[in-house]
């Protein structure tokens, strides 16, 4: 982390608020903040501040607005759609120093935290008491709860348990005016409009969240993990459909194709077979007797569909290794390709096999290898387009192939993003999924919160819109 050089104007402006050591304007220090997990695009911001309190955030916002600086909120910077990608001349407000757990209420299963608290640290804090926080994005050991709120993050286990929006009940948000507003409530059914739903998943366009009240859950009595391999993704996809159709609600059901398995095996110590077409990794959890019955029923289905091999981990460490393999799948691509482009799209679950065949055809046609890792239970695809940035125009062509995958998702009635967000990366596709009227309606929400478009002004929406005084009157 860089520190401010003395006398630098940008830093002087915020140093009295956050302290000179928490204000970054030197080029070396700013380099760290030039991008988020969407590493192919970089923009140097004017300054980065790392406030510690809601009050400091509010004062930084007021001053940035006075100076006419756009503001880009940033959590841990793990987002994959460029939500925290800086904008030229912007102030980046990072929450990495806001890591306090403020209040834990076991009986009511609520916890109030600062936004920089790491997702997994919530569950770690609760583990000795037998509770946990359900949303588990693959980056959960480094991503922040504030970033999760901005992106409405999911994870493998959201099939059964839902997303951030189902587990956050109240927020403190600082608006462009510097006003600090409490929205939602720890208590059921707060009065009026559900502003919490508006803010969660708004990708940092409405304000900066400085406190989050999460709802946590009692740990399930039992969890059974099943790993199964198949000749091809067709059988694996069919198995997923039949398990769900049988009335089983797995906590998670993940699919990996041959290329993804190859990368995971190369990067971790899992001993998964390399001569298979696809693998499923499934968790069933709940009350022990229920888990036994449903897991056995699922295994019967896997056998009937023609699974090549079905494994049950022998102990918790083997189970943890299997999930580590799955959660490390994106990074594992580095073992089999110099570069990779992570796509995130959603299709109706029943179209999995058809869409995978279309993606395979796209791979053949384009010449790019495409690995598939995805949350099969809810049809959330993560195709990884493998390329070599050093070779000619491969970066651009790979990105084009990834965009064709989104067109396939739209064609099947799905979504251009299931959990990574629109950010800077997919704003151009919003117009293909939504009409101008749909986007105008979303824009009303933005204007109600941030009429001056101070926060993340270039993100999510495809074309600039202003917030007129009489929006909605035609």
């Amino acid at each position: 982390m860089g520190t401010a050089g003395p006398g630098r104007e940008g830093c002087m402006v915020f140093a009295d608020i956050v302290g000179a050591e928490n204000c970054i304007t030197d080029p070396a220090g700013l380099r760290v903040y030039e991008c988020d997990g969407l590493t192919g695009t970089r923009v140097r911001p004017a300054a980065v501040v790392l406030p510690a309190t809601t009050d400091e955030v509010a004062r930084c916002i007021v001053r940035a607005v006075e100076l006419g600086m756009p503001i880009v909120p940033r959590g841990s910077g793990t987002g994959l759609s460029g939500g925290a990608l800086p904008i030229v001349g912007a102030l980046v407000i990072g929450t990495s120093r806001m890591r306090a757990i403020l209040e834990v209420d076991i009986e009511n299963q609520r916890m109030r935290v600062q936004p920089g608290v790491i997702n997994l640290d919530i569950s770690k804090h609760l583990a000795p008491l037998g509770y946990y926080y359900a949303p588990d994005p693959s980056s959960q050991s480094v991503c922040s709860i504030g970033g999760n709120v901005a992106e409405n993050s999911g994870g493998a286990h959201c099939l059964k348990y839902g997303f951030t929006i189902n587990h956050v009940v109240a927020l403190t948000i600082v608006l462009a005016s510097g006003e600090v507003v409490e929205i939602g409530s720890s208590v059921a059914d707060p009065l009026g409009y559900d502003l919490t739903s508006a803010v969660i998943g708004s990708e940092g366009l409405l304000g900066i969240v400085t406190e989050v009240v999460v709802r946590f859950l009692r740990k399930p009595q039992a969890t059974r993990t099943v790993f199964a391999t198949f000749p091809s993704t067709d059988e694996a996809g069919e198995a997923v459909s039949q398990i769900i159709s049988a009335g089983i609600v797995p906590a998670a059901i993940e699919m990996m194709d041959a290329l993804a398995i190859e990368a995971i095996v190369a990067s971790t110590h899992v001993d998964w077979p390399l001569d298979v077409g696809a693998a499923l990794l499934m968790d069933v959890d709940g009350y022990a007797a229920e888990v036994e019955e449903t897991a056995d029923a699922a295994i019967t289905i896997l056998e009937r569909i023609g699974a090549l091999e079905i494994r049950n981990p022998h102990d918790e460490s083997e189970r943890a290794l299997m999930w580590k393999g799955r959660k490390g799948a994106f990074a594992a691509m580095g073992r089999i390709s110099p570069n990779y482009y992570v796509q995130d799209g959603v299709i109706p679950r029943s179209d999995i096999a058809r869409v995978l065949r279309e993606i395979a055809e796209l791979s053949r046609r384009s010449g790019f290898r495409i690995a598939n890792v995805f949350h099969a239970g809810d049809g959330n695809l993560h195709p990884l387009v493998l390329y070599d940035a050093r070779s000619g125009d491969e970066s651009e062509r790979a990105e084009h192939v990834a965009s064709e995958i989104l067109q396939i998702c739209i064609k099947y009635g799905g979504s251009i993003t299931g959990e990574h967000g629109v950010g800077a990366d997919k704003a151009a596709y919003m117009g293909e999924m939504f009409s101008d009227d749909d986007l105008e309606t979303m824009h009303y929400v933005r204007c109600a919160f941030d009429a001056t478009r101070t926060f993340n002004p270039t993100k999510v929406f495809p074309a600039p819109r202003i917030c007129g005084d009489r929006a909605g009157v035609r």
């Binding site: 189902n166 559900d194 009595q221 979504s415």
Partner: protein, 379 residues
């Protein structure tokens, strides 16, 4: 009363009302009432919008028009061994749109949450007549702002809810209710703590009040072995006498729908004894032919009955609201006769974020024509 038969027709009507600056209210079940009683120039009913638009059982997704009743939808889903995990009272006459617009729920909230937790998409007709869509027809989707969830509980003050897309759940193959009579509020709270500690996962827990004590219904749903095991575990742990009642559905339904006064009070689950002593019991006593039910895991109570003594009821309502608000909760009169409504705001004190709510109303309904003044704080 207008009853458009398509969203396009609804769009035309709202466009026309906008041009004429007519105020508009929306209704599902064609019954006047609810907390939002304001005089409007035009009423638009969804009764002719009552069909399933798309149902793909293998995807466990359904898109339904707002005017279909909850019972009819559940009937269609049951044929495919599925259900919408949302069980508002009076399903035979409550419409899906009404349940969504009023953020309605029933005992299944214990496990499945509210309408916002099962909605994945929505088509609305805006105040200016524009048809707009939010979300989609897949469970997982973070493209754009979540307009569908924002519309839940807005009582038609931001837009007309046209069609709604829900994620569905499998119909559980087995279900079993365990009923514990003669509980006081402390015993209810302790019973909940016992279940949580034992990692039991009831799908619904509610307790009906009979003037002296509560009877608590704990429902387990799922595959037969799991349901039986949880039931046995609960009976062993609770160490309470149980009754043979199959379920307390009737008592629950009465507490949610009977009488000319219906009140909802919320407070943290840990405040259950106070919720009873400061709100449920005094309101129960102040009403004629009263019923009450509490959802102990949710932290919500519903009291219903007849208004027989206006001054006494007003005083009980005021005291109960003062307590609820001081405890971080709310008290809402979802039904009340004019004598009560005129003297007692159905909603109570607007929340600290009220300015943002007003800004939203101004954007969605700049001419203030959709049930103006009827919602929280005169929204």
């Amino acid at each position: 009363m207008h009853a458009p038969a398509s969203l396009e027709e609804a769009s035309g009507l709202l466009h026309e009302f906008a041009a004429k600056r007519r105020t508009v209210g929306f209704t599902g079940a064609d019954r006047s009432g609810g907390p939002l009683r304001v005089q409007v120039d035009e009423t638009v009913s969804t009764r002719a919008l009552a069909e399933i638009v798309e149902y793909v059982p293998t995807d466990q997704i359904v898109t339904v028009q707002a005017g279909m009743t909850v019972a009819r939808l559940q009937g269609a889903l049951r044929e495919h061994k599925q259900r919408l995990a949302l069980d508002p009272p009076a399903p035979e006459r409550t419409t899906i749109g009404g349940a969504v617009a009023s953020a309605g729920y029933g005992p299944l909230r214990t496990r499945y949450g509210t309408a916002r937790d099962v909605i994945v998409g929505m088509t609305i007709v805006r105040a200016d007549g524009t048809i707009a869509r939010g979300g989609g027809k897949v469970v997982k989707n973070v493209a754009g702002f979540d307009i569908p969830k924002l519309m839940v509980g807005t009582y038609g003050t931001l837009a007309m809810v046209g069609t709604i897309t829900f994620r569905l759940h499998p119909l559980p193959p087995a279900s079993s209710d365990v009923v514990f009579p003669a509980c006081d509020a402390a015993a209810l709270r302790s019973l909940c703590a016992t279940m949580t500690q034992a990692q039991l996962e009831p799908s619904a827990v509610y307790a009906t009040f009979d003037a002296t004590s509560y009877a608590c219904d704990v429902r387990f749903e799922g595959f037969p072995a799991g349901v039986a095991a949880q039931r046995e575990a609960l009976l062993a742990l609770a160490q309470r006498e149980r009754s043979e009642d199959a379920s307390l559905d009737d008592g629950h339904e009465a507490a949610r729908t009977a009488g000319d006064v219906q009140v909802k009070i919320t407070a943290a689950p840990s405040m259950l004894e106070d919720l009873h002593a400061r709100a449920v019991a005094p309101l129960y006593r102040a009403l004629g032919a009263a019923h009450a039910v509490v959802y102990p895991f949710v932290g919500a109570a519903f009291v219903s009955g007849d208004c027989t003594d206006v001054p006494r009821l007003l005083s009980a309502l005021a005291a109960a609201r003062a307590w609820a608000e001081s405890a971080g909760g709310t008290l809402v009169t979802t039904e009340a006769p004019a004598a009560i409504r005129d003297a007692f705001d159905p909603w109570g004190a607007p929340p600290p974020s009220f300015a943002l709510m007003r800004a939203l109303k101004e954007r969605f309904d700049p001419q203030r024509r959709l049930s103006p003044g009827g919602f929280v704080g005169g929204l």
